[in-house]
Amino acid sequence: MSSTKAVIRDVASHLPAARLTNEDLAAREGAFSAEQIFAKTGIVERPQAAPDECASDLAAEAARALFAKSGVDPASIDYVIFCTQSPDYFLPASACVLQRELGLPTACGAIDINQGCSGYVYGLSLAKGLIESGQVKRLLLLTGDTYTKYIHPLDRSVCTLFGDGATATLIDAAPDAQGGLGVFQFGTDGRGADKLIVPAGGFRTPRSSETAAEATDADGNVRSAENLYMNGRDVFRFAISTVPRSFRALLEAAGWTADEVDFLLLHQANRFMLDELVARLKFPKEKTPYRFENLGNTVSSTIPFVLEELLDSGRLKPGARLALLGFGVGYSWGGCTVEWV
């Protein structure tokens, strides 16, 4: 029986050049002051893709940074997964465009997965399945989104929170490795589908003059049906009731106690949500790294952004035990354990 393990070898990232600062937001009509925005979100600035800059462009740059950092030859990649909710086209898959863009071999599998804040965990799960079943030896997992393109500039329920960015993770088959990607735990509640949504633009509700019409809600936020909508109260309620259960289920599946977790990597929604979750989980704050101040909520990229910082700062030692928990749009959530090798 094969004992090949899927192991994370390296992580890199890329951000667009432009930044949306709290001062920029405060200057918009009806906005809070820059200080109020920081106090509420913990976010200083949000990277923002240029009009002609797509999520796949950001992901391609993240992949190039990964190749440069790890010394890995793109020709050695035999599968690429791109997790995005802001694809280049309805079809083809952006991963196929990325295969050409990155000079990956034609003998390379390529798929997009459409998941948001749980997407990195889903990507790792697919990577483990492909590698440990012997189908793939070296996999490139890309995450990238340009949510800011969905956001109306006068909808402060979301424009203060989201940023654009991309990450690239190299996952290798490692024969007889002591560790690697561990157990996974998933959850879905489609009752939350309309709580975080871009309602128009697909086939259910195609774009039209009606969907482009802007309206102001009771809180004074402006959006059309083609913009991102978030019911913050319901999403918050979902997160703080679901994540503790998900964490307990993950620990049980792994046979770990909470004390045995060296780092808990939570989806970086915003400081308010993270502080609430850390309090609810009764988990040590120093073992729950934050990285959102200069990023905002970058959807499926938030967890690998944290992982990158842990890795680059030398805090991740072989044998370190990590728990990753992503949760959000769908509602969808997923957790996994990693034993660093």
Binding site: R191, R233, F236, R237, I240, S241, T242, P244, R245, E276
Partner: protein
Amino acid sequence: MTLDDLKTEIADIVEVEPAELSDDTSSENLASWDSMATLRIISFLDEQLDDQVEPEEAQALTTFGAIVEFARKRGIIDAG
């Protein structure tokens, strides 16, 4: 969980000592029981139920007494 466990959790959310909670304690007579505390209470009950409290049920949970009754009815705390 026991009634005392529930009392400790709710007291923690509304920032009082457990002994200060009575059946009549509500957002009307306790300043620290604000809309955020209400949201935390409903989320706590969601977590315990492993499901979402229905909106009409959630609207009725305005006093500590109503929360205890709900928790008994739904098996979150031992009946008795």
